[in-house]
C-alpha cells in the first residue's frame, strides 16, 4: 500500500488553520473550508440565512458576476460545493490538479468579495423555497423533519437546515450581507487541501489568503444553549399522502465531544448497520415488512440522536414498530459476544477505510473532525479507538442511550388516522 505522506499544518495569525495532505497517486486537487457556526446561530425568524447566504456567495463578487464566475470555474472543469449542516458552513471543490491555482483564486474571490446582488438573492431564494417544498416529496425527509422538531425542540437542531418557507421569504440581501460579515470569519476556520500540488507552491497562496482574510470586528454570533431533551417518551403522527407509511424512532445521544462517541457509533452499527444487522434481518428479511430499514447517529457538536427507521405498508406500521422495539430490547438484554463485537468493529473500520479513497472525502474528514473539536489527528486515531472498545463498554453505552425517553414519528396517509 502507498504510504501516506505526513500532513502539513499551519496556524495563521488571523485564526485560520490550514491542513494539507500531499497525494501523488492521482491528478486531482480537492479543498474544503469549514467555518464554525451557521444555521446553529440563526434566530428562528431568520432560519435559512446561512443556506441562502452560502448559495448566493458564489453568485457574484466585486469583479465577477454569476455568469463570469460560472464560466471561469467550468472552463477549468471545477465546481464549488456549498453545504450548511447545523454546526458549520462548508465550501469546497475539486479540480484537475494542474488548475489548482486558478480554482483557488476564484474560491478566494467568492470568499472575500461576495456582493449578494438582489437579483441573484431572489433566484437563490426561489431555488431554496423550492428545495424546501421538494423535501416534502420524500417520506424520509418528512419523517426526519418532524423527528428533529420533536427531539430537539426550540434548539436550532430542531429546525430544517434550510429554514422554513416563512423565514426564507422574509430574508433580504442586506440580511445576507450582514450575516456574511458576522459569520464568515477566519477565527476557528479550517481549510483543508488534498492533492498532487507541491507544498512550495501552495504555501505562498495560503499565506496570501491568511493575510487578506481579516476577521470581522463583530464577533461570531453566540453559541446556542445546550440541547434540552424531553423527559417523557412521545409518539406523534404526521399525516401525509404517501403510499407507504414510515416510522422513525430515536433516543437522545451524546455529542461528538463526549468520550462515549465511538461506543455509540459502534452500537448504532451493531443494531442497524448492514444486511447482517439484527434490524435488517428481523424487520426486512424475516418480517418482510420493509424495503428500507436502517439506523443512523449523526455526529453533532452539541447533542445528537440515535435513530432507527423503516418504511412499510400502512397496515403494517404498528407491527414494524413492535419489531423494531423487540430488536432493541433483545439487543439490550443479550450480552454482546466478542465475535459480534469484532464483526461490528471490522465493518465500521472497513467502511471508514473505503470512504477515504477520494481526495475530497479525505479533505472533508480532516476538516470535519478539526471543526467539531476532535482535532484533525482523530481521523487517523478513530479506527484504533473503535478497536479498543470492549463489549462491556459498548453494551453499557447502548443501555444508557436506549433507555432514555424516545421520540417516535409515524408518517401515515391521511385516511389511516
Amino acid at each position: 500500500m502507498a504510504q501516506a505522506e505526513p500532513l502539513i499544518v499551519r496556524q495563521f495569525p488571523n485564526g485560520l488553520k490550514w491542513i494539507h495532505r500531499p497525494v501523488t497517486h492521482n491528478q486531482i486537487f480537492a479543498f474544503n473550508l469549514f467555518i464554525p457556526g451557521g444555521s446553529i446561530n440563526e434566530s428562528p425568524s431568520q432560519a435559512g440565512l446561512s443556506r441562502l447566504m452560502a448559495s448566493t456567495m458564489v453568485k457574484g463578487t466585486q469583479s465577477r458576476n454569476a455568469l463570469a464566475l460560472a464560466q471561469e470555474l467550468e472552463s477549468l472543469g471545477a465546481a464549488f460545493n456549498v453545504d450548511t449542516p447545523p454546526d458549520a458552513l462548508s465550501v469546497g471543490g475539486q479540480v484537475v490538479a494542474e488548475h489548482w491555482e486558478k480554482t483557488l483564486d476564484l474560491f478566494k474571490d467568492v470568499l472575500l468579495h461576495p456582493v449578494f446582488p438582489v437579483a441573484e438573492v431572489e433566484k437563490e431564494r426561489e431555488s431554496l423555497l423550492n428545495d424546501l417544498k421538494a423535501s416534502r416529496e420524500s417520506i424520509f425527509s418528512v419523517a426526519e423533519e418532524r423527528f428533529r422538531k420533536e427531539m430537539f425542540g426550540s434548539h436550532p437542531y430542531g429546525r430544517p437546515d434550510g429554514g422554513t418557507p416563512e423565514s426564507v421569504a422574509s430574508l433580504t440581501a442586506k440580511d445576507l450581507s450582514t450575516w456574511y460579515g458576522r459569520c464568515v470569519s477566519p477565527r476557528g476556520a479550517v481549510l483543508v487541501t488534498v492533492g498532487h500540488v507541491p507544498v512550495k507552491a501552495l504555501t505562498p497562496w495560503m499565506e496570501s489568503l491568511a493575510k487578506d482574510w481579516i476577521a470581522p470586528a463583530l464577533g461570531t454570533p453566540s453559541i446556542p444553549p445546550v440541547v434540552v431533551y424531553s423527559t417523557q417518551s412521545v409518539t406523534v403522527e404526521e399525516p401525509h399522502p404517501f403510499e407507504q407509511s414510515f416510522v422513525m424512532m430515536g433516543y437522545p445521544a451524546v455529542p461528538i465531544t463526549d468520550q462515549n462517541y465511538p461506543a455509540v457509533k459502534l452500537s448504532n452499527v451493531l443494531l442497524g448497520g448492514g444486511m447482517s444487522s439484527p434490524l435488517f434481518r428481523v424487520v426486512r428479511e424475516e418480517g418482510t415488512l420493509a424495503y428500507d430499514v436502517s439506523s443512523f447517529y449523526p455526529s453533532r457538536r452539541f447533542g445528537s440522536a440515535f435513530v432507527v427507521y423503516a418504511g412499510t405498508d400502512p397496515k403494517n406500521l404498528l407491527l414494524a414498530e413492535e419489531k423494531i422495539k423487540f430488536v432493541i430490547q433483545e439487543f439490550l438484554r443479550t450480552p454482546l459476544s466478542e465475535e459480534d463485537l469484532q464483526d461490528g468493529k471490522n465493518y465500521l473500520r472497513g467502511q471508514y477505510l473505503m470512504s477515504h479513497q477520494t481526495n475530497s472525502r479525505m479533505a472533508w474528514y480532516l476538516g470535519w473532525w478539526e471543526l467539531l473539536g476532535k482535532g484533525y489527528a482523530y481521523d487517523a486515531h478513530y479506527p484504533d479507538l473503535l478497536q479498543s472498545l470492549t463489549a462491556a463498554d459498548v453494551h453499557r453505552v447502548a443501555q444508557e442511550t436506549l433507555s432514555l425517553p424516545s421520540i417516535t414519528v409515524r408518517v401515515v396517509p391521511p385516511t389511516a388516522q
Binding site: 500500500m1 502507498a2 497517486h25 492521482n26 491528478q27 486531482i28 454569476a66 455568469l67 460560472a70 464560466q71 467550468e74 472552463s75 477549468l76 472543469g77 471545477a78 465546481a79 475539486q94 479540480v95 484537475v96 433566484k123 426561489e126 431555488s127 423550492n130 417544498k133 421538494a134 416534502r136 416529496e137 417520506i139 399522502p241 404517501f242 403510499e243 407507504q244 448492514g274 444486511m275 447482517s276 434481518r281 426486512r284 428479511e285 424475516e286 418482510t288 415488512l289 420493509a290 424495503y291 428500507d292 418504511g311 412499510t312 405498508d313 469484532q342 464483526d343 471490522n346 465493518y347 473500520r349 472497513g350 467502511q351 477505510l353 473505503m354 477515504h356 479513497q357 477520494t358 475530497s360
Partner: protein, 422 residues
C-alpha cells in the same frame, strides 16, 4: 500496472474460451478492492408476465447457495469490513462486494457462487415478493419515478428500453419462481457476463481465481437479442402525468446513437454543452435569464442500442406546459447558430473532470469497465478521454440536426394534481 496517458489504470482485459470477459485493475494505493460481476440482463429482456423478473432475480441472488445461507453471505462480507449490494438496469445487472482487500478471495468465491449457483429457496421467494412490493410503493411515492418511467416510455415506442425495470405491483404479485429460474438459466451464462476486479490485488492471483471459478463453465445459448434500435420518431409527443407532487418536473429529449457508434462521445459533449453546468445554454437562458425553472440539466444516456439525450427540469407548475416549447426554440438557436468554441471547451473540461473523479474509487473504476465490457465495448473505458479531447464545436450542430430530426422532442411533464392520483 499499465497506465493510460491520463494516468488511469489501463486494465488487463481478457476473454476465456467460454466467453466470460474479465478486467483486472491492479492498484495498491489503498488496501481496498471492488469485486464486481456484471450480467447482460435487464428490463429489455422481459415482456408482459416477466416484467420485473430480472430485478426480482437480483433480489434473490443473495438468498443463499447450497453451501451458504443468505445470512451467512452478508455476515461473511460485513465481518470482513465489506459491503455487498446489487442493482438492475435496463440492460445490465451488477453485483458487487467492496471491502478491505485482505480476504478478497473468499468473498469473491461467495459472490461468484451466489451469482452462478443460487438455490432460490421457495420460502425466500415468497418473502422477497413482499419486500419488492414495498420497494414499488416507496418508488411510487417519489415523483422522479414517474419522470423517469414516463420519459423512457414516451421516447422508446418500439424497443424494450421502455420497460419498467422494477415491474408493476401486478406483475410482481403474479411472478413465479419458475419464471425467475428460467431467466437465470437463460442469461446467467459465462458468455453473457463480465467480471471486473479493481484494487489492492495481484493480477496473476486474480486471473488464477477467475479461471478456477468460471473456467469450467459451459457457454450458454442465448435467446435472440431484442430489437434495440429505435426507429426515428415521426412526431412530437409530450405526455402529462398528474400526481401528488410539490413541483413540476419536465423530461424531454430524443433518441441517439448506440454504444458502437462513433457519435457516442460527441453526444456526451452536446448534452454537457446544452445543460452540463451553470454556464451552459439551458441553465443560462431558462434559469438565469427567463427564470422559468429552478433547475435544468441535460445528459446523454448510453445504451447498447439507441441511446437518448434527455433534458430534465424542475419548475413551477404554471410554467411546465410551455417549457418543452421554450426548449424547442432554444435548440433552434443552436441549430441555426451553433455553439461557440468556448462553450464546448467548458463542457469538455467538465466531462473530463467528471470522468477522472469517477475513477478515484475502485468501485467507480470497476463500474465503468463493467458496464462497457458486458455490453461488448470495453474499449470505451480505455479511449473515452482521448475521444473527448478530439470533439470540436463544429461537429455538434450537425449532430443535433441528425438526431433530433427537426427538434422533435418527446417526453413527459409530471405536475401536481389537485387530487392525489394514487
Amino acid at each position: 500496472m499499465t497506465l493510460l496517458p491520463s494516468g488511469l489504470n489501463a486494465g488487463l482485459v481478457k476473454t476465456l474460451p467460454n466467453g466470460l470477459r474479465y478486467v483486472i485493475l491492479e492498484d495498491h494505493t489503498t488496501p481496498v478492492v471492488s469485486l464486481q460481476i456484471w450480467v447482460r440482463c435487464g428490463g429489455v429482456n422481459e415482456s408482459g408476465p416477466t416484467s420485473g423478473v430480472s430485478h426480482f432475480l437480483e433480489h434473490m441472488i443473495f438468498k443463499g447457495t447450497d453451501k451458504v445461507s443468505a445470512n451467512e453471505i452478508s455476515k461473511i462480507v460485513e465481518s470482513n469490513g465489506g459491503s455487498i449490494n446489487a442493482a438492475t438496469g435496463g440492460e445490465t445487472t451488477q453485483y458487487h462486494i467492496d471491502m478491505p482487500s485482505a480476504q478478497w478471495e473468499h468473498s469473491f468465491e461467495i459472490l461468484a457462487a451466489s451469482v452462478l449457483t443460487p438455490s432460490f429457496p421457495p420460502e425466500e421467494f415468497e418473502k422477497e415478493r413482499h419486500v419488492i412490493l414495498e420497494e414499488i410503493k416507496r418508488r411510487n411515492d417519489d415523483p422522479q419515478s414517474d419522470v423517469w418511467d414516463g420519459f423512457l416510455e414516451a421516447l422508446y415506442t418500439k424497443t424494450p428500453y421502455r420497460q419498467r425495470v422494477i415491474g408493476s405491483a401486478e406483475s410482481v404479485q403474479k411472478m413465479t419462481r419458475d419464471l425467475m429460474v428460467e431467466q437465470h438459466r437463460l442469461y446467467y451464462v459465462p458468455n453473457n457476463m463480465a467480471v471486473v476486479i479493481a484494487g489492492d490485488v495481484k493480477t496473476k492471483a486474480v486471473e488464477k481465481k477467475i479461471r478456477a471459478v468460471f473456467g469450467a463453465l459451459s457457454k450458454g445459448v442465448l435467446p435472440p437479442a431484442p430489437p434495440l434500435i429505435e426507429p426515428p420518431a415521426n412526431s412530437t409527443d409530450v405526455r402529462v402525468i398528474e400526481r401528488t407532487a410539490q413541483q413540476a418536473h419536465v423530461a424531454v429529449g430524443f433518441v441517439g446513437p448506440s454504444l458502437a457508434n462513433p457519435d457516442q462521445v460527441p453526444m456526451d459533449v452536446l448534452a454537457a454543452t446544452l445543460g452540463g453546468g451553470q454556464s451552459s445554454r439551458l441553465y443560462r437562458v431558462l434559469r438565469e435569464e427567463k427564470r422559468q425553472v429552478w433547475s435544468v440539466s441535460a445528459s446523454f444516456i448510453s445504451h447498447a442500442g439507441s441511446g437518448a439525450l434527455g433534458i430534465f427540469a424542475e419548475c413551477p407548475p404554471e410554467k411546465a406546459m410551455s417549457l418543452p416549447n421554450d426548449i424547442f426554440f432554444l435548440l433552434g438557436d443552436v441549430e441555426f447558430n451553433g455553439f461557440s468554441t468556448e462553450e464546448v471547451e467548458r463542457a469538455k473540461a467538465q466531462l473530463k473532470s467528471a470522468w477522472l473523479f469517477s475513477q478515484e474509487t475502485y468501485h467507480g473504476q470497476a463500474a465503468q469497465w463493467g458496464f462497457y465490457t458486458v455490453l461488448g465495448h470495453p474499449e470505451v473505458a480505455a479511449t473515452y478521454l482521448k475521444k473527448l479531447e478530439k470533439v470540436t464545436a463544429a461537429e455538434l450542430k450537425p449532430l443535433l440536426v441528425k438526431y433530433s430530426l427537426g427538434r422533435m422532442l418527446t417526453g413527459v411533464i409530471v405536475t401536481p394534481s389537485s387530487r392525489p392520483s394514487r
